[in-house]
Symmetry: C2
Subunit: 332 residues, 2 copies
């Protein structure tokens, strides 16, 4: 039900997922009448591969997380996460209110052993057609060094689950590569990472996110959110300026027509929709948050990400990754 476009986006994406992934079963959670109306447009849907699960309430984008958690116990978000809790569904995907989704998921599912705080991770495009995974992106504004170490383990597990990479390289986001750089928390986290069994590259800087220097970039949620939003801002400024200049005169409009296939390829390579679907990591269940403004293609990417995370045993990988950390904590 959530996001800027609601069912107009989520239903076509779900229908497409059913077409491309023949072993998937989809629970469509929300207001039954509206969902069935949306579905009536599609013919030849196999009724054994999906179910409509009614939920009375909808969490709005403005609901404070506490209110969504306590005041809307029959929201589509809550009902969907309950399905994961009960083992009826293996993953939940939502385009709704991030804070509410995190609060409900954390309350209902609880965290995995050894995880103090869940984190939000997303993939970003890098040079040479690669990608890097950044976390946390806003779930935790104040973090200790131990939290950053946990994020590193979870991010490493996510990359090995979704990209099939063994031993992904982990970088710590900082204001310089040298060991002496950064605030105390970051310096302590670097020390913990060096002692861990992760493939720790060392400190990385903001531009390394897009250079693809490492597979996983670790930071607290305050820094991560601002880095991500600043990046969005630059991308919008650049694409806006390019659009402006190609529309400036009849000659530039003609050039735009000629250059269209090239500009389209550029757009496709950098298409943020392909990276849609942030993982809420550290919970006892797979929960994926789609961008609120996602279109059907972007939402389908988030659905595929949820599918892949389940298929490749993300939760088991995170649990395994936490074992050495817990052992160390016990020893200490």
């Amino acid at each position: 039900m959530g996001g800027d476009h609601g069912l107009a986006v989520t239903i076509p994406a779900a229908v497409n997922l059913l077409r491309t992934h023949s072993h998937v079963f989809v629970h469509l959670v929300g207001q039954q009448v509206a969902i069935e109306q949306s579905l009536s447009r599609y013919r030849n849907l196999d009724p054994t591969r999906f179910a409509v699960v009614h939920a009375n309430d909808v969490v709005t984008m403005d609901d404070p997380p506490a209110q969504a958690l306590r005041g809307k116990k029959d929201s589509s978000m809550r009902v969907a996460i309950n399905l994961v809790k009960e083992g009826v569904a293996q993953a939940c995907v939502s385009a709704g209110n991030t804070g509410a989704l995190m609060a409900i998921a954390r309350f209902v599912l609880k965290t995995l052993p050894g995880i103090d705080r869940p984190a939000i991770a997303t993939a970003m495009p890098t040079m040479h057609h690669g990608m890097s995974t950044v976390l946390d992106l806003g779930a935790n504004v104040d973090c200790t060094a131990e939290h950053l170490l946990q994020f590193a383990s979870m991010g490493s597990a996510l990359v090995s689950a979704l990209q099939g990479k063994m031993n992904p390289a982990v970088g710590l986001l900082n204001i310089g590569e040298e060991i002496i750089k950064g605030n105390d928390t970051v310096k302590q986290a670097a020390e913990l990472l060096r002692q861990s069994n992760l493939n720790f590259y060392g400190n990385v800087e903001g531009n390394d996110i897009y250079k693809g220097t490492v597979d996983v970039v670790v930071c607290d949620g305050f820094v991560g959110n601002i880095a991500l939003k600043a990046s969005e801002g630059v991308a919008q400024l650049m694409s806006g300026t390019i659009r402006d200049e190609f529309q400036r005169s009849w000659f530039s409009r003609l050039c735009a027509v000629l250059a269209y296939p090239i500009l389209r390829r550029v757009k496709r390579r950098l298409d943020h929709r392909r990276y849609n679907g942030a993982s809420l990591l550290g919970l006892r269940g797979v929960v994926i948050k789609s961008h609120g403004s996602a279109d059907a293609f972007a939402f389908e990417c988030a659905l595929v990400r949820a599918h892949d995370a389940v298929q490749n045993g993300l939760l088991e990988k995170i649990t395994q990754a936490m074992v050495p950390l817990s052992a160390e904590a016990d020893a200490a």
Copy 2:
């Protein structure tokens, strides 16, 4: 002497400044023989408008600030800042090691009354041909709310000096616009800003830097540095991808030739060289840091920025801006 290119960049930029600004006098500080050799290429230089000031040492990009400060007392950086201290020069511009420049400038010049810590500020391009000024960009990795308030006052003074804006709008960089967002320091800073006589807009997010929502964006140096570097990373990724795709085939290369004037206009509008010259604010003297990789055009922009800051009374404006803050602190 500093930066990636040294005299090959700084000398032509200085010569050009002399040509375009008829009332400026330039002290060229560094290794005399090398400087004079660089100057010998230019004819018709008016010898009454510049002086070569010899300095034995050069601070390298790798020198730790403490070493540059204590071990190289005859460096070009130190000698140049001494000229400002003595009132012989009104501003110092360097493309060298940022940490060393800040350490030396702070030690030699001291801070203005009411300023606990100097900050680094730079201008960024925004939509609709505007610009926003962001600080701090890395001088202070741990900040209190009071420091952020001082940064806001200094940033506001800088914008009114360099852009002639009365009462510039100030935003506090945060992970959401709502008052409840952010860590404790940021929430306290917002409260101080609301009580101040600055034109406080409220919280802004990372993308607002490039939207031009406010004139001044305030943050601690850790966040500011990472936001800036992440932005650089995205810009490089996008321009690299565009270049790649326009070089892909003979057809795309032909399109590139046709679209060249358009792409050049895009580049000019977003040209980071035009924004070169970060201000070290809060010192008893104007000190401008050029990007290390600056070319002659970019370095000249930094020189012009220094000139404008002096011409428009930046130091007086900052001192005035600090008066109400000191009065409040005294009252408290």
